[in-house]
């Protein structure tokens, strides 16, 4: 009896914990992020850690680096005044929306294409990267876009990918050869088995980063732009992000970051 009494008061210690968990679930996700930033100026971004050039974990330096990361840092600086206020949480394509809905992260900046299906679940900022399908060609190639393709050209694609279907629709006269994966398609290009490799420009830029001597031929010919996902009900924060993005484009920070990651590429007009 004495013993149980000794422990029973400890239950009271758990009480506030219960209260805390009870209210936090709804509260954090429902809290207005723009208001919270006034008191606690940190913004938590969900980012990829496995995507070359956009968000890739650098083991040597112990941090995630990439275009998405730098844009997030710059946006944080504009909104809160300090770059260091940006916090990063690693997400995957599967986990990012649930984490956003729970309030674990404030926004997703993780190579996420704005699509009608996704807009049913989350809101999107303006475009921050003009992603789309593009052509990868050797530096010496005469191809400067999909309109230059003729029936004498051969384009290499990956079997079963939507990019193979897109290119067949966009350039019906051109020969299309489909290989097993990007590595094989690129190897075939190196071996002269085709004139160009086609898939998303983000992937092609990753290939170029590791293999100098290749370039993209013109602007993307499909429209699959990346946006920053923010939950519905956070329209104030969304406006802040959009304004900050405008600021970055206007003061040249966007261009600077773009060229840091994609040195030879033309800065796209995001409003187009």
């Amino acid at each position: 009896m004495k013993k149980s009494k000794k422990y029973s008061w400890m239950l009271f210690l758990l009480l506030p914990l219960l209260l805390l968990t009870a209210c936090s679930g709804g509260a954090i996700a429902d809290q207005d992020i723009a208001e919270r930033i006034q008191e606690n100026p940190t913004i938590t971004w969900g980012v990829k850690a496995d995507t070359n050039l956009f968000g890739l974990y650098n083991i040597e330096e112990g941090e995630i680096q990439g275009f998405d990361i730098d844009i997030a840092k710059a946006l944080t600086k504009v909104i809160t005044g300090q770059e260091g206020n940006a916090e990063f949480v690693e997400v995957t394509s599967k986990t990012r929306v649930p984490l956003l809905k729970n309030g674990n992260i404030d926004a997703i900046i993780a190579t996420m294409t704005i699509s009608p299906e996704r807009l049913k679940q989350v809101n999107f900022s303006d475009i921050y990267f003009a992603a789309g399908q593009s052509l990868l060609v050797p530096e010496s190639s005469t191809l400067n876009g999909i309109e230059d393709l003729t029936k004498d050209h051969t384009v290499l694609a990956v079997k079963g990918s939507t990019s193979a279907q897109n290119i067949r629709a966009a350039a019906p006269d051109t020969n299309i050869l489909e290989l097993e994966n990007y590595a094989e398609a690129f190897t075939a290009l190196q071996a002269g088995q085709g004139d160009a490799v086609t898939t998303d420009n983000a992937i092609l830029l990753g290939i170029i980063a590791d293999n100098p001597g290749y370039r993209l031929a013109g602007q993307p010919f499909t429209d699959e732009p990346y946006g920053i996902a923010i939950d519905y009900g956070q329209e104030n924060f969304l406006n802040q992000v959009n304004e900050a993005l405008d600021t970055l484009v206007q003061n040249g920070t966007y261009e600077q970051i773009f060229h840091k990651w994609f040195p030879d590429e033309e800065v796209p007009d995001l409003k187009a």
Binding site: Q165, E184, T187, A191
Partner: protein, 215 residues
């Protein structure tokens, strides 16, 4: 499966024709190369024998896919620009001729040694004995295993799909990934392969019977 045929039948047929042509070309050349190498393997000439043995050992022990990829990727970089179809045919010929060489060698060695000695003692040269005495007997021994090699060759041509070789398997892959009807597509592909291999099997069995009847 009917819808599949009506929509993609043309593609499958194109693949079928390409596979058939590739098989016939590869079969023809691998027969010639294989028989030659097989004869050299049992020849008296040390140098020719060593060379033939090296050829067989090398290509017998490398996966066909690796050989084909070599001709698809490396060959165009340094020698001549060939497409996946040609690379496939060359790879398939080289690979199969190593197996045929082994079969032919076994066939020749299966003819009793006394036949060669008898031929030589009657005044035939080595090559004449080979041509008129040894090889006609060796062919009978060789026919059944050779038939297996032919059938393997047809089926092995499916590696063309890996180098965009426009064969039956390549088109099968494309159709399967476009329609998501994997089972139906590959069943069709299998049936098309049977159209080539079943008659081939029966032809080889017929040849076997005909040669046996002559004894």
């Amino acid at each position: 499966m009917i819808e599949l045929l009506s929509t993609y039948g043309g593609m499958l047929l194109r693949g079928f024709v390409n596979t058939l042509i590739a098989s016939v070309i590869a079969l023809f050349f691998s027969m010639i190369i294989g028989t030659l190498v097989g004869i050299l393997q049992v020849s008296k000439n040390k140098f020719a024998k060593g060379l033939a043995n090296a050829y067989v050992q090398l290509f017998l022990n490398i996966p066909l896919l690796v050989i084909v990829l070599f001709f698809y990727v490396v060959f165009p970089m340094y020698v001549a620009n060939i497409n996946g179809y040609t690379a496939g045919i060359i790879g398939l010929t080289i690979y199969t001729s190593a197996f045929i060489a082994e079969t032919v060698r076994a066939g020749i060695q299966g003819v009793p040694a006394g036949q060669m000695e008898a031929g030589l003692s009657t005044g035939f040269t080595y090559w004449e004995t080979m041509r008129y005495i040894i090889l006609p007997q060796a062919i009978k021994i060789v026919i059944p295993p050779l038939g297996n090699q032919f059938i393997n060759l047809v089926k092995n041509s499916s590696v063309f799909a890996m180098v965009a070789g426009l064969d039956l398997m390549y088109y099968g892959d494309l159709i399967a990934s476009e329609t998501f009807n994997t089972f139906g597509t590959y069943t069709m592909v299998a049936l098309f392969y049977l159209v080539i291999t079943l008659p081939l099997t029966h032809f080889m069995q017929y040849a076997e019977r005909r040669l046996a009847a002559k004894d």
